[in-house]
Symmetry: C2
Subunit: 377 residues, 2 copies
């Protein structure tokens, strides 16, 4: 099975020119006469020549690939992030090397070693880790962008969701509906997003002078976690003892709804329920779930932009400190908190509207006060 691959040399020979000229034509670097150019191009396509990437990146020292490190590849959230990243990467004609399922630090650094020299830059998403740790492990000449990490080290660019602002907005909304005893179902203890959402909850409660009313239930970001949290709450006393439950993400809100239904507690009449993320099914739940919309795909898209900026700007950007971006969220009000009386999940025409209210954005601000334009994915 020889079938030797066609190389640049074959093209050169066939076209009666040198390899240098072929290279020039293909990358249009340097001048080449029009006639020659066309001849080379013709030969190249007729031979189905495709440049050998390994050889090319051996000498140019760039791979046209970016790496993505994810904690684990579960669920809608990651799926959307990847989609955003893929979109961005494709637009810039880059490639995407994916590596998932990294829970602990050992695995991350192993994956990192494995990606060495295979990628021009790295997007690391690991809500459990902080920036300092990353900084000490990643080779200093490899551009990195952090997603949803505790950004302690200010000189790594990072993109985050405005978790705190979103949670605050949601709690304020619940308060405005007259709900006073609002429980919060937490995410995983060491998760950065979860911590920020919790902080937002506390802030809003404190601002309303209701800090003493805080009720924080442990959770894990999964449906089962929300389900269990509510079960325990319900079993603790007679009746739920709260008039609203705010889950740190939608998956848990699904579990919360399920537990309440099972216990015969009416939503939203007795207890309002709210989530965070606004995953696609949120509006189809029963009742449709009030949530905080997060532009997940855009998170990925922006990560790619930021990374490629760093890649192209050379190892250390002259502009100095690294950018920190904060993505605005949006309150999406549906029936699960009792603010609307209409029913049905959606207008029959598929557009948003009819039945849901999109609330004020939760304060977007760039690292340097630059406003974020709303170019959504």
């Amino acid at each position: 099975m020889p079938e030797r691959a066609v190389t640049i040399r074959d093209v050169a020979r066939e076209a009666g020119v040198s390899v240098a000229t072929v290279s020039r034509v293909l990358n249009d670097s340097g001048p080449v006469r029009e006639a020659t150019r066309e001849r080379v191009l013709g030969v190249a396509t007729s031979l189905r020549y495709v440049p050998n990437q390994a050889a090319r990146s051996l000498i140019t020292r760039e791979t046209l690939t970016i790496g993505v490190l994810l904690p684990d590849l579960y669920g809608e959230f990651f799926s959307e992030v990847i989609r955003g990243i893929d979109l961005g990467v494709q637009r810039e004609r880059y490639h995407l090397l994916l590596s998932g399922s990294h829970d602990d630090w050992e695995e991350i650094s192993a994956a990192l070693r494995a990606m060495h020299r295979r990628v021009d830059g790295l997007v690391i998403m690991s809500p459990d880790l902080d920036a300092a740790a990353v900084q000490s492990t990643v080779p200093s000449d490899l551009p990195v962008v952090l997603l949803n990490c505790a950004a302690s080290g200010r000189d790594i660019p990072a993109i985050n969701i405005d978790n705190r602002g979103g949670a605050r907005a949601m709690v304020e909304h619940l308060l405005s509906l007259g709900r006073r005893r609002i429980a919060f179902v937490c995410g995983p203890a060491r998760n950065h997003d979860a911590a920020e959402r919790l902080a937002g909850y506390r802030e809003a409660l404190a601002a309303a002078g209701l800090a003493s009313q805080a009720r924080e239930l442990p959770g894990d970001f999964n449906e089962l976690g929300g389900y269990r949290a509510l079960r325990e709450l319900l079993e603790a006393g007679e009746g739920p003892g709260v008039d609203a439950v705010f889950a740190a993400n939608d998956s848990m809100a699904v579990g919360v709804l399920s537990a309440l239904r099972e216990a015969g507690v009416r939503v939203p009449e007795e207890v309002g329920v709210a989530g965070f993320d606004d995953i696609p099914i949120a509006r189809y739940l029963s009742p449709p779930l009030t949530s905080v919309h997060v532009p997940i795909a855009e998170l990925g898209l922006r990560a790619v932009s930021a990374l490629l900026r760093a890649v192209r700007g050379g190892p250390r950007d002259a502009s100095g400190e690294a950018r920190q971006e904060l993505l605005a969220t949006q309150l999406v009000i549906r029936r699960s908190c009792g603010s609307l009386t209409t029913c049905g999940p959606d207008g029959a025409d598929g557009a948003d509207g009819a039945n849901e209210l999109v609330g004020g954005s939760s304060g977007a601000r760039g690292g340097k006060g630059a406003p974020l334009t709303g170019e959504s994915a």
Copy 2:
């Protein structure tokens, strides 16, 4: 910023040996004295030497990377597939080059060209395409595995879900509950999985002598599609006119449930609802959704296994024809079809059980009659 990367030559010099020896140590190919070996290894780690992948794959002509082509990166389903693939790839110490969002044939072939020589093999998932088309575009020396494609060309290995058997099993179950007028919400017209599920529905109905009762509603695999389909059904006559609705996937079933609830139709008393895929939230819906469980992650895992087998076995495996695998599905019976009277989505301990019945598998069979072992991901 020179900071020249450390090469094999540096290691060789430092250890006082030739580059050939270093190479031998690192790949343990060929004999080398124990003392030398240790010295080289020591120097290598102390210099933090990492081999340059480009140079290596330039000469070995292998990239230790497999490519994955996906139609689009939406939702739980793809997320799970990717997870399975990632698991398999990681286990075999390969890398994963991902490329998504390819709807039409043009884009696929463009992505294919771009991946040329960057990958040792390809997993292509495109339910809209058939194998013949793939075969004509992919370079013949690049191993390929097809996922969920119409496998017309028998000499490309393909892995499919037993969509037809799963659908048949579900219809049989509905019939066994006494439901006779069963509507089916179809998937996208050109999607292979969708077509097979429809075929299963028809087969089961025909086998029961109820072919004339078939009621097929157009759909698109999204929540909104299911919602609309039911709306139209409900508006057509007074009352639903059916006693069960079988949606071609769970997302649509969510929409179906939502539309029924909105119209005040009780589930499962008046109309039973069933889905396909058994996505994680299925058991938390109201009522918990009866569905056909699909081992999605395993689909990805198997794809990797099959692909690497092909990669390592050389361009054309001597064993002759390519394997076609068919993955068994499982009926998961919950409350939405009215066969159980208990309530609540789950045992409080998180295990399956208490409240759901896992039905007989829908006939697994390998391409050559080999039974599929249930080594789940």
